[in-house]
Symmetry: D2
Subunit: 348 residues, 4 copies
């Protein structure tokens, strides 16, 4: 029998996309969609292009938790109590919020609020498959990474593991879908169109998540991270400026990155700077690394679709791993393109 | 002493732009700005690019009505009572709402709601200077036309006066600023970006305004008018498809339009279809007229900036006329470009 | 053995997308790609997001025509001689150009140039599957319709067949990809961005194609058709203004369109005006029909993706039919969404 | 008699805008426009929105050099010989190219090509009025700065003068008009729209210009500078990441920047990150400076319009200074908004 899955919080951008991917997934059976607003409306009324003809329901755990897996797309803080209830009923969970990304509840408290389910943190796996694939396979609770950390960590991991990072500045740029579905002055078309500005200066909440993982990778550093809003819908680019421990050292960037990612279906190495169009509506993170000979600095760019690899399709990638499926099932094109079916066999 | 003017409802797009134009106007003295939201904030906090360092105040007629003139930028329905109060105190008013555009209060009632100040309708002048210049000069209450009617009527007036119109379809396209400052699903960047759709089908409220004026011009016809939303900020284009009374008749469109508009500072005739970029941030309406020899139809395009000629700068044009100033004062470039100062002399 | 197919002219937007769809197609085997420019470059160098790692080759019929089927994506006029050569070698062809759309070579001559292969016109089938499905199944030469005609004819067919059309005005709007890959003043970002204008006034070449098919459907009428360029990438909307033979007649539009399209996998009926985002990167044409009670007119909107249903995915839909495959194979989501695999079974 | 001025190379974006500003300038008399393409066309045919009804002429120095001043808007390398000819005839020149920005011809040779008029370098003044106002006043040859250097230097000057800069990373973002009028794959709407990428990695030609001026200001450092292309027309943002000599030091950024710029009409200090919309079509550079307490780093943002303060309006600002006029004449709004006429008096 195919594993069943519900999406909790399907009225927002990432929840709705997750619902679409799961409904067309070859293996999972999408059971139901809950939402904290718009109950009673069908998802294809809110998002015609997703073509998911399922009604959004008010949360009723007795009915909705009778599934093998859940994707929770609630806001930070609101997710933890729901995740706790789902876990108590034995449901395996991928959580799109930040609530289980930071291993230290005190650190979570410093950047968000008091943690609502600290007892679950020990079980939570940070769901970046390219770094924690084996942990995800056995996990019952996966914290899906933030969109900026996904791009930043994939960009920096090879350097961090090589132990060469002395200092990092990350200048990030994101399309407007990253700000979510809420209609505000900041997401009004007239505010964003033909505009460009930094935000969240200088303490954006994705900083501790990036720093936590850099420590694991071998770079215990405080980073500077500044995001910018650009006038486009989906897409995110991080430009990472890395000062090396030894600025004059030799470093074969091509080999370093190829060694790290040659077998990764969803990391694509490019010789020139990647554009966000290159990865739109895919689960692919496209990366290029460059040496600035004048300053010795290494510059790494990583582009992804913030709603896909930065959220929904990475959640499905995690679900695939958790349930022993081929990692690329139901997610779409891989870094090596071609016929998906052939690829799927290879990935099993 | 320079005439003083206040803007009522300056927190919205059109009120704020009117404030900017009046603050830099060579003759008018901008006294104060009121708003129904954001009181206490400075206008340059809401709209940095307007650079108007004036605080938005809560309405206090005793203080704010002590001016020679007022521009009212309230929503339809809410404007009429305020206009009545201002008129009662002898303030000359340009009203940006629809409340005084329709001469027949019953017709107003059919499209909006019961009229709140029908006794003022007889005094109200429809403020399209190119059609009613002399009336505006003596007016104490000017109803500033809607953006779509401004473009449509300037496009159709020469044909209507020539008595050749049998039927009209107007397909209109507008940028998002026309939807106003309210942050809604419809104005969210992600809704609008890379999108394009009709709205207000098939009964948009600008229809009775266009039909009323076409009657005056000599064309008593029911029209079809459909607006569309396009992914840009400021700009509006109407494409008018005119079936002639005699489809096979000769018609020298070039001469007809040149005769109508050669002396108009803010109407620009083009040989090819106008683009909205051509008129962005100007008070100019750019028009081209074409004959489709295969069908006999006449096609007229008119482009303008919905916030400028479609609202705020046309309001200032009306104020200039009402106070005996040069018509182009403080509005910016004219259809014949060049040195504004030289032009101003010519226009006196 | 799977049928083999080559794409001729794969460096342009529509040829490249066809190559992508065919490379991932479950049944067809993509053999090779030719191009009239960029020979020697790989397609994923020109278009990274398509992820087709195949080199563009200079045309060599001896090698490239050894296939079961060909998609020709050459400019109008240049296509006919190549199609003739391919047909002479027994290759079944879908031609994306206009060269085989008009059944009358004289009419072709009036809008384009002298026809280069008039002897093939008798065999050519107009490849709009929703109108000519059975003809396409047996065809060896399919003329893939223009993007505007596809949208316009799907919008108007139910009315034309019902014999109620007296007159039609089509106001069309298209994203910039419709202008093709050539870098010109007209496709420069700075020309298009925040702009909006009509073009091809008043004799756009898609007119005879629409009129020809309307005659077949029962409406022998000269139409007015005016396209506009809007600042977006992919997407096209036609707004059709139909004057009825009897403007006062009853007409159950809902039933008329449902009867016409209920079983069509790639026509989607909507209650409100469709947006081009709703159909982006799909083979779906989304349609809504409205009655304007004031004028008696019927207004029909149809939205599609000009590169997909307007070109490349419709070409694959035609290929599927020509080779007896399920019509939706390899094209992506259908109007009723859901699991593609289930749908595919239903469509066989 | 008013000083006369010609624009050489008026068919490009910056030359055309300079022509528009000078034609409406209260003092200068615009004599003629030359172009290397499009001779015989009127500028308002190429750029309707500029409304400059002057014909573009082929260069004829005998006629065109009979002026008091010239603005040269030629490509790098092509400008120097023309500037030399103009200077030989006694014409005072503002050059928009890079040819006279670098004081060292060898350095110029390393980044561009062999210098064509090194003998003029000694006389050339770097035309950033906020840094070199007095030098510009007496200059006969002014090298108008690059758009990125203008923003970067205004952002960094207060810190450089304070001697606190240890290291700088500049992540720059620009709209597409910065790439110029040439229609290429890179400026095609479909390439840029919904896209975002770095370019010129890692050796963009604006680097030596920024480094040269930082030395003058007191910071002899090699910098990292990476520009990005964003999907908008006009507007540029630089995000400067400054490592301090003493990362733990106290620094009153508010006072430092206010002291530097309080009297500058075209520098605007903001408390939050500036957006490029805030400065669109103005000569204003809007700046905010922030301390990241976690890392000790200083982050400075500067936004400007690349065609205005980054090129054309700064050229007019320089011309004003060279001819003893009020600095803000004919350029438009200043950082303190309000009535331009009042301001102009203050600036004399």
């Amino acid at each position: 029998m195919p594993p069943s899955v519900s999406v909790f919080g399907a009225a927002g951008f990432t929840g709705a996309l997750t619902a679409r991917l799961l409904q067309r997934h070859p293996t999972f059976e999408l059971k139901c969609l809950t939402a904290r607003s718009d109950q009673g409306r069908r998802l294809d009324d809110l998002y015609p292009h997703h073509r998911v003809a399922i009604e959004l329901e008010e949360l009723d755990l007795d009915r909705h938790a009778d599934v093998d897996a859940a994707v929770v797309a609630y806001p930070h803080g609101a997710a933890a109590p729901l995740v706790a209830e789902l876990r108590a009923r034995g449901v395996r969970v991928v959580d799109l919020s930040a609530d289980f990304r930071l291993r230290d509840p005190d650190e979570y408290g410093r950047w968000y609020r008091e943690h609502q389910a600290p007892e679950l943190l020990a079980d939570a796996v940070y769901g970046l498959p390219e770094l924690y694939r084996e942990d995800v396979r056995g996990a019952s609770l996966v914290a899906n990474p933030g969109c900026y950390p996904t791009a930043s960590l994939l960009a920096l991991a090879p350097l961090a593991r090589a132990g060469v990072i002395d200092d990092v500045v990350i200048d990030a740029k994101s399309g407007v879908s990253g700000a979510g579905r809420a209609a505000t002055d900041k997401t009004h078309f007239v505010t964003v169109d033909e505009n460009l500005n930094a935000y969240g200066v200088p303490r954006h909440r994705h900083i501790p998540e990036i720093e936590q993982e850099l420590v694991v990778l071998g770079a215990d550093r405080r980073i500077t991270f500044i995001p910018h809003l650009v006038p486009l819908d989906q897409g995110e680019l991080v430009s990472c400026y890395v000062t090396l421990v030894d600025p004059g050292s030799e470093l074969d960037l091509g080999r370093l990155y190829a060694d790290a990612y040659a077998d990764e279906a969803f990391v694509e190495l490019a010789s020139g700077p990647p554009g966000v169009r290159d990865v739109r509506e895919t689960n692919i993170c496209r990366i290029s690394a460059h040496r600035d000979e004048r300053t010795g600095r290494v510059i790494v760019f990583a582009a992804l679709d913030n709603l896909w690899k930065g959220a929904a399709s990475q959640a499905v990638q995690n679900l695939n791993l958790m349930f022993g499926l081929a990692e690329a099932e139901g997610i779409g094109v891989t870094a090596w393109g071609g016929r998906q079916s052939k690829f799927n066999e290879a990935m099993r």
